[in-house]
Amino acid sequence: MKRLLSKTKIISAISVLLLLCLWKVASLIYNSDLILPSPESTILTTLKLLFSKNFLLVVGATMLRGILGFVISFILGILLGILAGTNRSFEAFLNPILVTIRSTPVISLILLALIWFKVDFVAIFIAFLTMFPFICTNVIDGIKNADRDLIEMAKVYKVNHTKIIKEVYLPAITPFIFSGASSAMGFGWRAIIIGEVLSQPQFGIGTLMQSAQTYLLVKEVIAWTIIAILISSVFELIIRKIEKAVIIWK
């Protein structure tokens, strides 16, 4: 098993290397920093950005928006998901709303949010609208997949409703909450950055990406992209770690 794991790791490393090679070759062909800078100069730019004086403020602002959006989505998603999962009428009520949010193009939401809200709130609003449906839908699915036999058992033993929700349903949906949270985060970060590009808050990765693009600083655009990917993977990693710590019974 361990050998197999290291083998897949090697293959993944080869894939990354191949991607870098392609990038390098393409940059040699174009031979212009204005179109495609080389990987090494981009990485150097990334490092420079990491140590620039406003870096923490910029990244912190973007992360704060993401975390705020996530926390609101997480709490509302679980509450409404449980309600919809245990109550058919509420599900019938909630479902069209979820479908509408999910199928509305992110860009429409942003354009409207730009009109409706203050600049700093736009990205949070977008983050919420992209993340909430994922978490909510997963919770509903989790409840529907909860083991009917266990619920019947609890009812035969006259366990009260609140306790059944807390000790049977909630643990049963925990894995679903985590997979919902993880896809929510994946889509959320992308949406937040689009939101920042268009709303131009004072601090934010998107704001700086936009100005880098305006000045044709391709290196910086890619460098910020790399930083955004890193942030996203760090959060993914954190979610997986928490999942492992919470689901100890498997």
């Binding site: 019947e152 058992m153 609890a154 035969v156 033993y157 925990t174 689901i247 498997k250």
Partner: protein, 233 residues
Amino acid sequence: MSFKIEGLNKSYDNIKLFDNFNIEIQENTITCILGPSGCGKTTLLNMISDTAQANEGSFINFEDKIISYIFQEPRLLPWKTVKENIAFVLNSDIPKEERLKIAEKYIQLVELNGFEDYFPSKLSGGMKQRVAIARAFSYPSDLILMDEPLKALDLKLKLNLMRAFRRLWQTDKRTVLFVTHDIDEALLLGNRIVVFSKAPVNIKQEFSIQKKERSLTDPEIIEYKNKIWEVMD
């Protein structure tokens, strides 16, 4: 004061399972219902435990009675340890520590000491069913329903568990209603064996076995077995 079911009518999937059916379940004995698969044994238990509804019929003396149920499957919560699984069904008005203490007592009685803090995924099938039995006995019930809980286990484990069950039963002689299609199980557990026909059910014959120690090689038990064979289709 025994439990009585009178004038029971119940159809399921257009099959008439019970048609004006009557049965009495005596207190403080193990009544074993022996019948072919699909005759409605499980449905009878479900009607008693209120998870299925009868079309007609009166359930006398069942009102306000507390019921434990040992299912075909262990039905343990995967996220709770052995101890917590048992404590889970106990009344929340009892302080948690007390509930865990009661759980520990019954874990000892089914000889699972040392496994109190294990999650079900770490237990074998037989051990899980022992936990389910401990859970049923720890619950202060007036009636224990059992639906072929030994079905999925091999013979040795089965014998082992039945011995554990009878030992546990001797401690408080609870009223038990046990359904099975396996004669050996009925002979090893039942004080009273009620043989059911195919659906719609009628009672073909009843046997009463008062022996305390049971063994399938005991000539008396073998004699019962032969008699029951004759009655069953």
